[in-house]
Amino acid sequence: MSKENINIEAIKLTKDSFSKDFFNNTINHFKDKDRYINFLDETDIENKMDFKGVQVIRDKNSGAVYRVSAHGNFAKDSDKIIKPNFNSAWSPHERWTPYFMNLEEKYIAFGWHNSNSAQIYNEVIRGIDVEKLSPKDKVYEHFLKIHKKKKNSKHPNNRDDKNKKKSLRGSINVKNLPSLIKSHPNIYKKIIYFDDLIIDRFLINEEDPFLTPVFFKEVLINYFKTTTDKYYWYESA
């Protein structure tokens, strides 16, 4: 692949993204190269779990686009060498933010708001009021367990209140979410079932000669923002 070709591809993609047909043409283009997956039709469990590229979640009926996300970026190691493999290639069942995908019950919950949602999570699941860090014995016990389990984690006596609150809000067990959503659906802004969704996956791996996932994501977002008034981003806190 010559340098000129690469440059032309990136420029062409950017230019084309201003045309109305860009998204459908892009799907066809990726399909031709066997690099497009309609996630909800996908039966290969490996493809469902580990994913490198760009994902678009959109409404089957209204045409609204809920989320465009990149999965995989190039980072450096401690010696400032570029790692050959992507960071953050993504497994949907391991995340609760910015949205939670429940493969078993076939829905996506959008719009986790950390200060509210994590508060409810901690109160209901852990029985802890994060703001007041109470009951104190329960908070202490929680951090003591972490300290015993994880090497290098701080002893509860050495954590300040800010650190405790941050840790409580940031260490959520995603396995608890399905039952919590049932009792407290408002911990997410919106829940949409797979029947009403199309989930496009554009596969982009480390060896792609033209594209990084982040760039392709931004091209798609720019396209949706400039060609439709139905781009919604249920932003996480």
Partner: protein, 172 residues
């Protein structure tokens, strides 16, 4: 600059406008005056002109998400340097004193960055004054492109076309 100019040709003058600053017959006051004028959203680039292209591009950053932020290039790019009146914190041995009187020029006459998100050796934060260059790309027409697209486009072009990863960026 050829690489940047070539890459940015696709957008045209009606969409973006490029500005640059070098310390040629200028001083720290001119630098801050330049920063203050960057009152739109867009992308800022730091260059070390002692290196050849593309290695001279050491950092690309964005300012102002299209809908959710009012932050401008001035707000964002200025944060990489000590502010003119910035003082040492209370618990510091020099508490209350101004950190760098002629910021971004340090006491040795070099340009000194304050910080980046990536972990960087403190020696790397200092550039010879004559080697420092800053470029901003202001987005004139916000209906067309976002700062995120512009930033990721340039990083994509540098990495995929030129095999260059700016040393102060921490993910692409």
């Amino acid at each position: 600059m050829n690489i940047l100019n070539e890459a940015l040709d696709v957008f045209g003058d009606s969409v973006i406008k490029m500005h640059e600053f070098i310390f040629d017959q200028t001083d720290h006051n001119d630098f801050w005056a330049f920063i203050k004028k960057q009152n739109k959203k867009g992308v800022y680039i730091f260059l070390d002109m002692s290196a050849e292209e593309p290695k001279n591009i050491i950092y690309i950053g964005k300012a102002g998400k299209l809908e959710f932020s009012e932050r401008t290039l001035s707000d964002r790019s200025g944060n990489y340097f000590y502010k003119p009146s910035e003082k040492y914190p209370k618990n510091h041995i020099n508490a209350g004193k101004i950190i760098m009187l002629n910021t971004p020029i340090n006491k040795d006459g070099d340009v000194e960055f304050k910080k980046f998100n990536a972990k960087i050796d403190s020696n790397d934060l200092i550039l010879k004054k004559k080697d420092f260059k800053m470029v901003t790309i202001q987005i004139i027409n916000h209906e067309t492109i976002s700062p995120e697209l512009l930033e990721s486009y340039l990083l994509n072009t540098l990495l995929k076309e030129h095999k260059h990863y700016p040393k102060f960026n921490h993910k692409i």
